[in-house]
Amino acid sequence: MINKNQEEKYPKSPIGEVIETSAFNLTIQCHKLYESPAIGSLIKCGTETIVYSVISNIKTQSLDTTRTTIALAQNAFSVEDVYQENPQLQNLLSTSLNTIVVGYKQNTHINHEIPSIPPKIHDLTYCCTLEETLEFSQTFGFLRILRSSNNAHIDDVIVSFLRSTLGNSKNPSQLLLRAGQELARLLKDDTQRLTQILERVSL
């Protein structure tokens, strides 16, 4: 049950809940099949301490690992037909997100650090609004955490995060400048990688 405190912090409905938790990574199971924010989106969970994480992967698979999915669209005209003809799929498949923890908020102060206590299993998870994402991105210290994660596709995650944040911001060039400065510090020994990221963000 959502308490009043949670309602004030989270006016929107949750996208899912935490099903695997650690200090560095979370797995979120979405409440609705395929209804997940995009890769690179900032999401939040927790009650006393709000933990922020960035979506690094989205998976949809069979809830029961012993049951394999098989082709069902041989006689269908579209994927929508398949889901309409097989409504059980809504209950048998599940969309989940892998996220990288990038910071937390305690007493209105945002820290770009790993929280000392990870979120709980079943903590409700919400997609951050643009305002929240911009508030979190006032500085780009969290890029250090993203960069140091052992995700093989982390550059794509960073590019996705920056593209969507810059794209919706009123002052994108200012944000890009600050993000670029932080990335330059982090990737000073790998200018090729830095250039690739910045070029892709600027596209």
Partner: protein, 399 residues
Amino acid sequence: MSLNLLKTAKQIDVMATNISGRQNVHLEKIKKAINAINQFSIENFKQLKNEKSNELSFVVPTIVEHPKNRYSTTNKIYEYCVMAVDGSQIEMDRHAPTTCFLINIGTCTLKYGNAAKSIFSSTPILYAKNDELVIKNELNYSERLIEGDLLAAKRSVDEIKFLGKLLKKSSAQLPRICLLDGSLQMISLKGYYNDEIVLHEFIESGMVTELNKIKSIITESTNTVFASYISYPNSTDIINALKLTSCQSESIKCGRFGNEQSCSECIGGVLDRELFSTILSPGERSSVFYASENSLSEYYQDHRIMFFYINVNNEIARIEIPQWIGENSKLLELLHSLILDQCAKGKGYPVSLMEAHEQAVITNADRKTFITMIEKTLHHQNIPIYTSMKNHSKNLRWL
């Protein structure tokens, strides 16, 4: 030492050789069964049934339509709701720390068409109170533990109860089909034909009460059907009828596994599904027959069981229905169409029953966890736990 697979493999080889040797004889018998159904006359059958009913070692159905009739449907329904229920159980174990049994009921509701949706549920029911574990005979104070065949009957009653509840909650706006897995006839109770208390408890108070509720809902709507589905049936009702009309021997005593008194036209050992696989084309159903009268039939009151066979493309399935469905041609047509659609969606088996089964199934790991949970709970409440030394030795497996 576990199962000696080397020794088992040799015996399997011998079995396979025997099967191969019997195959030609069996195919000949199927041909004779086809011949017998081609020459079948309802009048002749009725006469022989009247004459020989007391001599027969098997039961025969009531046939009002020629068994070779076949029906197809062009009625394709895109918007409908299917409700299916299946169950599984954990039997009483006298070696377990306490006496109890558990029935797990899985349900699946699928709505097709606009706003397609699915609802699954899995409901475990633990029976542990003294009066839940036995059927009492108040007259002679005897008790029968609910285990084995009686637990199978108890599970059937729980399944149909859940189906009735699903049906009651559903909307009658769309065509509806309610499905159970297995036979509507409580064949597990055949061995209790002289135990009125048991038959009253499970058939009259259980099955028939629920059938009455389902019937009252179905008769109020014109587009709801109810049936039980038997995949790969082993029944021989129609073959029995053909034996009666075609057997050349004076006393018909050819069975499935023994044919000492077989005649030249012997079809003993052939199954109904083998016969109907030669008659029904994909999508077609057979005539509807009244199930053979047996010692349990009278308890079913006005829910006499009828059945038909249907070719669902991949196999011949047997559908059992109460007579208030079987005698209504519109409902039969609806049932025929919806069964075919469910089987098409489920790749040969109704998808709703498959999902209800998935909700009901109790794995070996679940069974072990169930016992551990009982032991832990009793331990936490300071209740002494006793188990048999046999169970103890199985768990310890010492050297």
